[in-house]
Symmetry: D3
Subunit: 340 residues, 6 copies
């Protein structure tokens, strides 16, 4: 069984029910999630040996997060305990013409205050096949960025495949650094990158190009620009999203292997139950495909896009769909019949 | 007031809320339902004297089912008490590209262990005008099949109109018999059959034909095949369903009277609140139309299809729509305006 | 800060959850609302000094309504206390082909029994810029109609702009008078009228014309008919609604300034979370635009229609959308992206 | 099977959850109840043929009440339909030193406007053994009082046993009559009266005596005073209640048969889950005992008091305890062990 | 109407339902509260003109807090907006032998980062009669302590009565100062102090004495020690609490006026619905009594203790009891009868 | 870290909320539990390496149980998958004089149909220090009894300490064997037995003695009788329970070490939130004490009894109390103060 490590933050998510606005809520649904952990859950569901590395406060809320990690069969072996609080985000789920709304309350979280050199990455990566991180972690604090760099360097040195999700969030990056100061060094070791071309150019400090994702011929040239900064890069992937309204999305994807563009066809996604974590579902599907010998690149991008679609029907940050459900959708069956 | 008897199983339905997956649920909504009982509820709502015959365990859960039957104004006069448990089914309600999921836990239920000759069908059918059963009941156990046969024979002997819903469920039929061993004898007494042509051919052991429901000319020939095994058959009806996704169905219907095909036009059904029991809603509408003198065959199939459509907007197994609501929809008003 | 007074009834609204029918409900969500109060909430949200005048019973339920008014930053200075009960309405929220259903239980409410001359309108309107009322209030009782007339006369005398929402409800008007007996005198003082042309002609006792809202050339002539009875009338507006089904509406609007027809383009509104109060949201948007110098008539009708659309995504009677959200939608961005 | 008729009002009860105050509630639990109906439910649970006569409005809320009556196996044969609304009461459930609070909103209910001579009491009482009414009904309106008098006269004429629960509510009796104007004539036909001596003297216009319920010797003399106005009176019973706080009651009872005082011993009742309807539970227990040959007077009062106690542990107006549970408690087993 | 100002923090409270432990919770009830705001709510309920001064973040969660303040009729005129987050506390409600548990997550809240001299206290205290603060605010941060000192100085200078609740929380005071460094200067201006003698000695840096609250003769000497540091001190009060278990408290109180000890008798409080904020309820009762001419010192302490008791029956931080309810309990009626 | 293995059944528990009776429930809270698993959760909470061996069906409900096991940090390494269903029990939580009620629906569960020799007990017990089982497992079916015997024999052979909880349930033992046919052989290998003396004599087929648990002198002689059948027995323990009512228990315990009786003092437990699993909490505390060197026998029984008490305050089958909370209670602090 292949072993995948992900590193990042897990937050308490407090969301309103039934599309209520924050000011109408007298209670919040409490779940736990975060980009890199969401990917780990997907991979554990697909049968991999998944492990999540993070830092959790030693209080009851941190303990709840720990139980959630265990529940999803994600290993907790190398989690560090310390710090004052678990980061929180508040979520108001929109509908139709009203978009969802996130209020972050994640400053000063346990992982934001992680000490460099406090994790023994050599031990963490023992027997591991894959390491995944995203651009959210270096955006949290200088310390988190430093530990993230330790991780990618150690993984690279040990010959572990590294996937990087650009995941740009403008509301983070508040500690005095810009993405272009930090990300190029981190992305240098990537074997797989997930992200928009625009974001990639912005984060790597390159001049922005204007990609037309429908123009198959022009894309390789643009994607090739990313290979310069990441010498070991094998794949670049992009999630294609077109938002009709908050309840209706169109979702597809692109996988580029340095030679060829593979498209996953655009699917209608309506109604949207919860779109948070759908990018992580895409990422989880991508890693699944790339870690499997039996699946080719076209099947990989089809699987990733189908995973992303089906995530929109599931409440919470995780993609709780089964391999079988995703494969059926990837294979073209979107009828949603009752299974009985 | 016309009197209709239905016979079958009522189950405890445990469903997740808000499209949650089973693994996310910390509580289940508890309702009660089952194909033949659902039909009885429809008919009671339409003003008929409806009675449901079943077997219930003498425990608190059986008592809850009994109260639900009473609440809906369905007579309980001939219910038998005994056995160990009420059958259960778990329901996870899907959305969009993710279909709903049913986990059956109905083995060894009270009615599966009903003793042949334990119900006085002659007394049950006294003053009755109509008897309805479905293919789910003989699929449960040899005993249930035997009692079902007693019922149709008694009803037939007493000159009561008999409607049969084929209702094939591949997960049942576990007791060593196949539908073709059991169903032909049961269907022999039918005056009305509801089902797909494919299912009908399969259950009656005929070679499968490939029906094209849009081809009005070819259909009578195929439907006529069913009249051979059921000499008293007057009507065959089929629900037409096209599934765009779990939240979006297209619903129509066909009624064949041995001479002419009557179509109910296809309607868009979106969003789907709950599609379980929509076939029973169709059946209930069909019986309503056929029991009314004032309604012709076209109006009957329009009513049945409208009942099926509106059921998709109602949570639970029953079609709690009123006559007036269904007639408005059948008459072409689908605007769903606020009634105030 | 401009000051707006509205006068009318606030009711306890008891609604079923999750599209349940009344007979399935074991609890009701309890909120508070009413046409004129809903308008006041919109205006308070937009930053105006809004005040609601009504009559509330001196019991716990009246106190709950009072707290709701305060919570939304609407002034309660001139609320009168007395009477026996707060009016109630029960709401069953439909879906798809099944419309929502309202059961009124509002007879004998505190405001229905308000005594003429019991409110010092001169004090109420001190420093006020705008007065809004609707046709629901004179429909409740002769006393409510009398007090409404006192209000419009006082407002007119004090030079305050008066907006009138026709708001015809056939289930009201039970006290022996018809709209045409009461409304012309009330509408006489209007500066702004919101309503369908049909309703306007019916309420003012004019012969009904058959308006074609798509025919820009024919409309001015029809709208001009309303100016005869209301010599100070500046604007007439109409909400355009086309109902695909209970979950899918198409919404636009018209603003006529005595010279020119301004259209707000028709928008798809799906899914509909709650359409109650969407007309009041339109009205609130209209007043907002007309009270602002920086917004022209086209922008005003665009804002009003966008406010109406976004209200459909919000549970409860009020439009809890922010200025910014409505302006974005009015400006053409309906993608409903996650704000994070 | 003995047949018992009760006549009165059934109301929609809207109660706050988890001891919330009204101003904290964002939803209300919706149940249905009313003194005389509550007694009917008790008797149906004990195996009697119970029927409830009332008047219900022809709207969805009235239909909900009707379904609740059916669910509890109480016959609805003679219910009259008409009127505008179902009466409502709001309930805030207290705890400890804070008492529960009721807000009535029951004026102008369907039964308050029942027409005299509109019920065929002779048909109602055919085959009946017992008729029960309470002092709440004549307190509602002159019409309700008139119909109540019709009922007791008819029952008396047909030789049916009549039980009367005094049930004084000072907030009712608003239509210009006092209890002493109405109750003596109604009580004249009683065979069984339940009530405090104080209330009985007040309602029958006698000079108030000061009863000491612990003084067994002085009581017969006082109870005997009631026999003067009710020549057919056989039994008088009183519920003894001592309130430590809202969560802790002490409950006993007295049954006087014209000769002897029978006491049910005082039991500690803590915690109190819901005390509404506990008097009706007592009444139901009393009728049960008096209708049974196998139970003597001491056993009857023990059963009635035990029924009253156990009701305090059950949410809602009805005593949903089984015969077996009450008999166990009446027999002295109050350990509340898990039954498994 | 007397005007009372309170100054402090309002937090989002996230509590588990039904005595669930944190690890069992899938949702949290969301309410808002904080010591000084809780006092303001009590005083608004008693009919005073109450105003709360605080600092709120300009985000949706801050807006929710603002609406809660308004809902309770507490003025918001001088609230300052800014900062990053609203403080949070998580509450697990215990039962019996298991105590409730609080997890604080309030560091870096808006008020912790308030700038000195940013509030115009002279304007705030215009027309005010009373100012209340507590020891929680100077415990938050040096900045909050500084602003608190500005407030008491300004209030003292303007001749406003000042009440101080010692409110010691060992988990706060993390910014490098101890209570004895800060509190004496703040308490110097007090006219009324609420607190334990132990806490008072500790906070004012005096040698701890060992008070025996049952020994009426020894107490004045100890209380008198507090008058030395607070020359304008008129009253010292102490809440007496004895905890049988988490669901059962005994509550009394002491009021010392510099001459005489007034005791409120100890009351049994069981069950405890929610004890958070019961000290603030006591404080609110104390201020009520001292601001009323018609109430003497004994009545004041009786009222304060009764307010504290009844708060234990109410969910949330606020004492939502009415004047009438508290006076009844203070007057000796603790029977908790249903009010109907 | 000591390793403890437990073997038995885990069930889906469906319980009504808020003390509702089954017939009032429209939803059930869904949790998972079972005697031996509950013990494993206690031990995992106390920091041991706990593992649960069972058989789970390969369906969604079995998967939910698996996730619950993982969440609580109990190892799932040797769980067998197969069979048709997870056993279910329905729970109605009583209050006061009304006891809780359990309806079992656990026949034909996955573990009831476990095949003998299908578990490699030698592998299971590798590195284990303790094995725990209870009398519920052999009561389920002959197969479960046979596998249980395999387990105790293997454990005994490998020198692992064995604890046996008698756990007699009269509603089980339906497969044709009585306890005395099966239990003596199973108990033979015990090192620790938990149970009543009565139950022990009944299960081992000895003549019943009448123990007086308050008579310290007579008890050793009775307990010694158990040592005859179990040659390796070191300890016998008994939970002492006295039920005042369903909401009020008195709990103590006895530990006999073959020489001396150690009593845990009787504690008042009120209110009872949930008493299911309190015996398992006792057992977990006992194993904790016996596995610790630092704790003597008196401290062990005090800890076990305190664990049992505190479990009564926690919803669900598990004792989610921490070591620290139990030790505080065992040490005499039952005040239940707020921890903040």
């Amino acid at each position: 069984m292949k072993k995948v490590i992900t590193f990042g933050e897990i937050l308490l998510r407090l969301s309103t029910e039934r599309h209520l606005r924050f000011s109408q809520a007298t209670n919040f649904n409490a779940t736990y999630g975060g980009g890199e952990f969401n990917v780990a859950v997907s991979l554990a569901n697909y049968g991999f040996n998944a492990e999540f590395v993070t830092r959790l406060p030693k209080n009851d809320i941190g303990e709840c997060a720990l139980q959630e990690i265990r529940k999803h069969n994600v290993a907790t072996t190398n989690i560090q305990f310390g710090g004052d609080r678990l980061g929180i985000y508040f979520l108001e789920t929109g509908a139709g013409t009203r978009g969802s709304k996130v209020v972050y309350d994640r400053a000063n979280s346990a992982i934001a205050e992680i000490e460099p050199n406090s994790i023994d990455w050599k031990a963490v990566f023992k027997d591991a096949d894959w390491f995944h991180w995203s651009g959210v972690t270096p955006a949290i604090s200088a310390k988190a960025a430093a530990v993230c760099l330790e991780a990618v360097k150690a993984a690279h040195k040990m010959g572990i495949t590294i996937s990087s999700d650009l995941n740009y969030r403008s509301k983070l990056w508040k500690y005095g650094k810009e993405p272009k100061d930090i990300m190029p060094e981190l992305l240098k070791y990537s074997n797989v990158i997930l992200g928009d071309l625009d974001t990639a150019f912005f984060m790597t400090g390159q001049e922005t190009q204007d990609p037309d994702y429908q123009d198959m011929d022009s894309l390789p040239e643009l994607y090739d620009l990313l290979y310069k900064g990441s010498p070991d890069l094998s794949y670049v992937a992009t999630t294609l999203r077109y938002s009709v309204n908050a309840s209706h999305q169109k979702i597809g994807g692109i996988l580029y292997d340095g030679k060829k563009i593979h498209y996953a066809k655009i699917r209608e996604v309506t109604p949207v139950v919860d779109r948070v974590g759908s990018g992580d579902a895409f990422m989880g599907g991508l890693i699944y495909g790339l870690l499997q010998d039996r699946i080719d690149n076209q099947q990989t991008i089809d699987f990733a896009a189908a995973a992303c679609c089906i995530k929109h029907t599931i409440t919470g940050d995780f993609n709780l769909a089964t391999l079988d459900e995703i494969e059926q959708l990837a294979g073209g069956n979107s009828s949603g019949k009752v299974s009985r």
